[in-house]
C-alpha cells in the first residue's frame, strides 16, 4: 500500500492524491475499493492506451449529446422564438403612402400596438379571459376563450389597441400576453376617393383599388421574400387625383343625387391630354377605414365596374365616325322627317323635328334617326371596327383591378348598329366612354385613363391616333354649339367655353325599355377650344322636378350637376375663367371653309 501511495503521488496531482489518501484513511474502506482507486489513479504505461480510448468515448458521448440536443432544438423550436416567427407573419407589413397629385396624404401607415397571447403559456385561461374582456370591452368573451383554448402558439387578442388600453393590459401583468408593434393602414379623408384607393386588410394586404395594384407591382413579393420593409424605404405613390377637386366633385354629386332623388350617381374629371383621372366619385360609397362596407354590391365603383347604355353620349362617337370616314361633312343633311323603320322596329326621335336636319342639328337635337342613318352609311363592319378602335368593345384595363367587360351584342346586325349609334344595345363602363369622348376632344388620340400621375409626354407615347385632328375639332365645335344653343345649355358656365353632350338612356326593366326609369349622363369638355378636362356625370334614376316641368332627361339633372362641378372645380384645377370668348376657337374648321364655326351662336330653344 505504501508503494501504491508512492507511485500515486508521483503520477497524479495533489488533489487526487488527497482523495486517495482520504479513501485510504477511511477505516471502514475495504481492500477492493482501495485497489480500485489505486487502479484508476495509477500511472502505469500499459494502461494509458485504454484510458485514452475511454477519454475518446467520453468526449464523443458528450459531443453526441450536444449534437442531439441541437437537432432537438431544430426540430422542436423554442416556443419563444416560435412566437416571434409566428408574429412576424401576421403582423401587418408596411405599405407605401398614397399621395394626391399635389402631395396631400390619401393613405398612410400608422404604428399601432396589438395584443397577442400565447395560449400554451397562459396559466389560468378563464381568469385571463375575464381580465382581458374587462379592459377591452368590445371583445367577445366566449370567442376569446375558444381562441385561448386552442393549441396554437400564437393568437391575436385584439389588433390596434389605443395607448390607454395598452397601458391597462400591461398592468394586468398576465403571463403569455404581450404586445407587438404593427402597421395600420389609415385613410385620413374617409370616403373621398375611396374607390380609387381601395383598401388594405388588417394584415397589410391590398384587397382592392390601387392598394391591390401596388401589391401586384412587386410589394407582395418583397414581403413574401422576407424583406422587412419599413415606411421609410418605400417611395410614396403619387396618384393622379386632386384631393380638393375630388372632394368638390363628390360633394356636388351628393347634392345632385339628393336634389333629383337619384338612386346612385358617379362623376369624374379626366385630363384629356394625359389620360389622368383628376377627380372621381361614385355614390353611394364607403369609408375604406371600415372595409366591411366595401363589400356591399351597391357600393361598387360605377365608373369602371358598372356597365351602362350610355345613351345619346354615344351619338358623339357615331357622328365623329361618319365625319372621320368622310361619309358626311358638317354641311351634309340627314333626313329625319319620318321615324326610321327596320323590320318590326321603329326608331323615333325624342325631340321630334320631322324635317331634314344638318349634321350639327342632328347633334344638338340629339336625333336618334340622324345618328342611326349616319351609322348605316358606315355599315356594320365599319361601325364595329371603329368602336373597336375606340376601345368600346374590349375590357378597359386601368390600375384598378376592378373592371367590367362591355356587353356587346353577339349577333351584330344592322339593327344593332342603328341602336348602338344612339347609345342603346351596347353597355360600356362610363370610364371607357370617357376615354373615347376624350379622344374625340383632344385632337384624335386615344389615351387610356390612368389613376397615377403621368406627364403629357408619357401619355402621348402610348397614344394611338383614332380620328383626324379636323374631326376632333368638328366634334369640339358641335359640343360647343350644343352648349350654346342645344341640350347642354345648362352646363354652359360663363368664362369656361364649355362644350357638352347629354345622354338619357331608358333603363331596361324586365326586358323592356322603361319610360320613367332613366340613366342620364352628361359629358362636358372644358374649354372647348383647347380642351383640358372632360367632365362626366352619371345619375341613376333621377326624378323630374316640378320646376323643370317634371322632365328627367339629362339636360335637367346630370347637366345641372356637371355645371356645378365645372364652376366649383375650375378654379381649384387652375383653369382661368375668360372674360372674352376666344375669337378663333376652331382654326382648322375655318381653314376648311366652315367660318360659321367661329361665330358664337345664340338662341335656340330648350330641347
Amino acid at each position: 500500500m505504501d508503494e501504491d501511495r508512492g507511485t500515486m503521488s508521483a503520477g497524479c496531482n495533489s488533489g487526487l492524491d488527497n482523495a486517495a489518501e482520504d479513501a485510504a484513511v477511511e477505516p471502514a474502506g475495504s481492500r477492493g475499493r482501495k485497489n480500485l482507486f489505486a487502479g484508476i489513479f495509477s500511472a502505469r504505461l500499459d494502461k494509458s492506451a485504454s484510458r485514452i480510448r475511454l477519454a475518446t468515448w467520453l468526449f464523443l458521448a458528450i459531443y453526441g449529446i450536444i449534437a442531439a440536443k441541437l437537432i432537438d432544438f431544430g426540430v422542436h423550436p423554442d416556443p419563444l422564438a416560435g412566437v416571434r416567427r409566428a408574429a412576424s407573419e401576421p403582423a401587418a407589413a408596411a405599405r407605401p403612402d398614397l399621395l394626391d397629385r399635389n402631395g396631400e396624404l390619401l393613405a398612410t401607415d400608422i404604428k399601432v400596438m396589438s395584443v397577442f397571447a400565447e395560449p400554451r403559456r397562459i396559466i389560468d385561461k378563464d381568469e385571463a379571459v375575464e381580465l382581458l374582456t374587462a379592459v377591452l370591452p368590445d371583445l367577445d368573451a366566449r370567442e376569446l376563450r375558444e381562441r385561448l383554448g386552442s393549441r396554437k402558439g400564437f393568437v391575436w387578442v385584439k389588433r390596434a389597441v389605443t395607448p390607454k388600453q395598452r397601458q391597462e393590459v400591461y398592468h394586468l401583468g398576465l403571463p403569455g400576453v404581450g404586445f407587438l408593434s404593427e402597421n395600420k393602414r389609415v385613410y385620413p379623408n374617409g370616403p373621398v376617393a375611396a374607390h380609387v384607393l381601395g383598401f388594405a386588410s388588417l394584415d397589410g394586404i391590398g384587397i382592392s383599388g390601387l392598394e391591390k395594384y401596388i401589391d401586384g407591382q412587386g410589394l407582395a413579393d418583397l414581403h413574401g421574400a422576407g424583406f422587412s420593409l419599413t415606411q421609410e424605404n418605400l417611395t410614396p405613390i403619387t396618384t393622379s387625383l386632386d384631393l380638393k377637386a375630388t372632394y368638390a366633385v363628390r360633394d356636388e354629386l351628393a347634392k345632385g343625387i339628393a336634389k333629383f332623388k337619384a338612386k346612385a350617381g358617379a362623376a369624374a374629371i379626366l385630363d384629356v391630354n394625359t389620360g389622368e383621372v383628376v377627380a372621381m366619385a361614385s355614390l353611394p360609397d364607403y369609408d375604406p377605414n371600415t372595409p366591411a362596407d366595401a363589400l356591399d354590391p351597391n357600393h361598387i365603383n360605377r365608373l369602371s365596374v358598372g356597365v351602362y347604355e350610355m345613351g345619346s353620349t354615344f351619338k358623339a362617337i357615331s357622328i365623329a365616325m361618319a365625319l372621320d370616314l368622310g361619309k358626311v361633312t358638317l354641311r351634309s343633311r340627314i333626313d329625319a322627317r319620318d321615324s326610321l323603320r327596320y323590320g318590326r322596329f321603329t326608331i323615333h326621335d325624342f325631340h321630334a323635328t320631322r324635317r331634314v336636319l344638318s349634321v350639327p342639328e342632328v347633334f344638338t337635337y340629339s336625333s336618334n334617326i340622324g345618328a342611326a342613318r349616319m351609322a348605316l352609311m358606315v355599315g356594320v363592319q365599319g361601325h364595329k371596327a371603329f368602336l373597336g378602335k375606340m376601345g368600346q368593345l374590349t375590357r378597359l384595363r386601368t390600375e384598378l383591378p376592378e373592371s367590367a367587360e362591355p356587353l356587346v351584342p353577339k349577333n351584330w346586325g344592322e339593327l344593332n348598329t342603328m341602336t348602338i349609334a344612339f347609345g342603346q344595345g351596347l353597355n360600356v363602363a362610363p370610364l371607357q366612354a370617357m376615354m373615347a369622348v376624350g379622344a374625340l376632344a383632344n385632337g384624335g388620340l386615344i389615351i387610356s385613363p390612368t389613376f397615377l400621375k403621368r406627364s403629357e409626354e408619357d401619355a402621348k407615347k402610348d397614344a394611338r391616333r383614332v380620328v383626324k385632328p379636323e374631326t376632333s375639332e368638328a366634334m369640339r365645335y358641335l359640343m360647343r354649339l350644343n352648349a350654346e344653343t342645344g341640350t347642354a345649355k345648362i352646363a354652359n358656365i360663363k368664362g369656361y367655353f364649355v362644350g357638352g353632350k347629354t345622354g338619357t338612356a331608358d333603363k331596361i326593366v324586365h326586358g323592356h325599355y322603361s319610360k320613367d326609369k332613366v340613366l342620364t349622363t352628361f359629358m362636358a369638355v372644358v374649354p372647348a377650344d383647347k380642351p383640358k378636362y372632360l367632365v362626366l356625370t352619371l345619375l341613376d334614376e333621377p326624378q323630374g322636378l316640378p320646376e323643370d316641368g317634371g322632365y328627367h332627361t339629362a339636360a335637367h339633372n346630370a347637366g345641372w350637376v356637371t355645371g356645378k362641378i365645372i364652376e366649383r372645380t375650375g378654379p381649384l384645377l387652375g383653369l382661368p375663367p375668360r372674360i372674352d370668348l376666344p375669337t378663333q376657337p376652331f382654326p382648322l374648321l375655318a381653314k376648311l371653309g366652315y367660318a360659321e364655326a367661329n361665330v358664337p351662336a345664340h338662341g335656340g330653344g330648350e330641347h
Binding site: E104, L105, T108, D109, I110, K111, V186, P188, N189, G190, V192, Q231, E232, L243, K244, Y247, A248, D251, I493, K494, G495, Y496, E567, R568, G570, P571, P576, P577, I579
Partner: protein, 130 residues
Amino acid sequence: MVRILNILAIAALIGSAITAYTIKYETIFHAETIVKLQHQIKLEQDQIGTLRAEWANLTRPERIQALADKFLDLQPVALNQIVRVEALPNKTQRGDAIGSKLEALGLAEPTNTPGDANAIDAAVSSTPAR
C-alpha cells in the same frame, strides 16, 4: 539594463492593454448609443407618421368645409371674382393718400380742446402775477 527594459516592456504592455480596453469599452458605449438613437429616431418617425395622418385627417376638405360653413361668413369663389393680372389697374402714385387728405383739411394744426383752453386761460391769468 535588461531589468529596466523588462520593466519598460511590462509598462508598455499594461499601457497598451489599458488603451485597448478603453477603446473597446468606448466602442461598446458608442454602439449602444447608436442603437438607442436609432430606436429613438424610429420612434420619432413613427410619431411623425401618426401626426401626418392626424393632420391629414383634421384638414380633410369635408371637415374644413363643415367648419367654414359653421363659423365663417364666406362664400364659394364666384368666377367673376377671378381676374387676370393684366386686368388689374395700373399702380397709382405712391404715398399716404389718407394722410394727405387729412393734412389738406388742416387737421394737423393744434386744436383747442376744452382742457387746453383752461390751461391757456390759466397761463394768461397767471402771466400778470409774474
